[in-house]
Symmetry: C2
Subunit: 306 residues, 2 copies
């Protein structure tokens, strides 16, 4: 069998180890494992890295424990605004959507933009109208909203009110991302998210931005990011990993650590998942937790949270 590999993240964040219930931990790890195994199965059967990524992310979008699709973080108004992006390393094609509220699977929409339009990034209600006409499944915005997130937002807003704080966004755990290498040597990367809890309506983070939240190029590497997105845009995090691997001949693991250290000097934290052209995987993070999983080129399998 040719070299295949996959790595996933279910979001870097400052989860509290003592208050996280066994059930929460199990939901996250099961979500990662189920998505990973489904993606890996596609790769094993000779499917493309894009196919594997779409499938794995769609599974995580449907699990309320992740901040993507159902369970997405809520804006300051209690609404959802979803972002997703996908990139293939073959020809560096990209597709992405931002600020959508009714598209059932954001990652599927991102793939549609990549494969069926000359555009790379479509935003807002106009993107929804176009993609709805194109046949993508639409849902009511309430489809994505969980009671748990509504309670969390209420709590944040109450605290904000009580302390007369200015608007502050809270990083939520759970943005999802996948990188994969298929048996044809094609690398790809994808991400899907609801953004940050209590985020300013209209805010877009790094998730749908090629070069920031994801990057893929055959023969070099595929990278997906999670964390405080603004810092990943400012550092062009995913493309910076690529550039260090390609031009500074840094190994993938050191390159990811360098980028996270650089982000930390700016005041930001998060995580990266990456794999190189040989199927070596790395999954570093600078937060307390990052739900993650990988099956590398040697078939070694991990699923971890802390």
């Amino acid at each position: 069998m040719s070299t295949i590999a996959i790595a996933l993240h279910g979001g870097a964040g400052d989860r509290n180890r003592t208050t996280t219930t066994p059930q929460q931990e199990q939901d996250l790890c099961n979500g990662i494992a189920d998505a990973m195994d489904a993606g890996y199965e596609i790769l094993k059967n000779g499917g493309s890295s894009i196919e594997a990524i779409e499938r794995a992310i769609m599974i995580m979008e449907e699990r309320p424990c992740f901040n993507a699709g159902i369970g997405a973080a809520l804006t300051e108004f209690g609404t959802v605004e979803l972002d997703a992006g996908i990139m293939e390393g073959t020809n560096r094609n990209v597709g992405a959507i931002a600020g959508v509220q009714r598209i059932k699977s954001p990652i599927k929409a991102a793939r549609y933009v990549m494969e069926h339009t000359p555009q790379v990034l479509l935003i807002g209600t106009r993107a929804e109208e176009f993609l709805s006409k194109a046949g993508l499944e639409m849902v009511e915005p309430e489809y994505f909203i969980t009671e748990e997130n509504q309670r969390l937002l209420e709590k944040i807003l109450a605290e904000q009110q009580a302390t007369l704080q200015q608007h502050t966004e809270k990083v939520v755990l759970g943005t999802v991302g996948v990188v994969a290498l298929d048996s044809n040597g094609n690398l790809a990367a994808g991400n899907s998210t609801g953004g940050m809890m209590n985020k300013r309506s209209g805010r877009v983070g790094d998730t749908p931005i090629a070069g920031a939240g994801m990057y893929a190029r055959n023969g070099v590497c595929a990278v997906a990011a999670t964390g405080y997105g603004e810092y990943f845009i400012r550092t062009s995090a995913a493309h910076e990993v690529y550039a260090q691997v390609r031009y500074a001949h840094t190994d993938i693991s050191t390159a990811c650590n360098n980028v996270l250290a650089d982000i930390q000097t700016l005041g930001g934290r998060g995580g990266l998942i990456a794999l190189d052209a040989n199927g070596n995987t790395t999954l570093p993070f600078t937060t307390s937790s990052m739900a993650r999983g990988a099956i590398n080129a040697n078939g070694e399998r991990i699923v971890e949270l802390w």
Copy 2:
């Protein structure tokens, strides 16, 4: 006087030299010269690169000959959707807006996002509502629409209809961008655009995307891009120039040419303006024209179109 430098573009595109009137050429060159001189004056007086960029871009946003602010390209529906972004090389702060219709100066709004919010990218009507409350000047969408652009769009739509073509976007000349180096050694880059003529409503190009349409880091370089934006996102064009200068020790001019050549292999064309930490400027393009100007570290001044 410390080293200062500035470079501007007024959009790369396939302008036809035989049908361009002397008046059109003069408007473009005057616009570049006026914006450049205003920006340079700020730098000469010890002002910041951000201040110089904002001022220069605001001047071009007000000139209907450029595709930014007044004179912005129209969407498929005849509306305007404006994008702008700005980045400072000191701490890699970024501010950007996309898909706005009523903000009088998009570049001013991008700067506001950078300096007064924790966000980096705000989109659509929610961005407008927030920025309007923050005190930025709003106008009716018609403010940006010129009769010339309305006639051009009608012509494109009629051709599309006549030939039963699918929706095709036309690159328009005129996206504006500026890079500057101030007397404190601070590099910065900024862009403002209406996008492409007959663009799909909701489409966002590289202009507001740090890493794609612009990048700036002190001690390395500042870069701004123009052209078929999708290709500049797919290649992380501006950050790729930075990466080649930093990690492959390529000079700024070769790095820009490499990136434009790479984009051409993918099927895209456009232009880049860049300057390095020593105030060396470069303004290459792969289209027939790019309105452009520069005053480099030696005080050498150019304003050119072809």
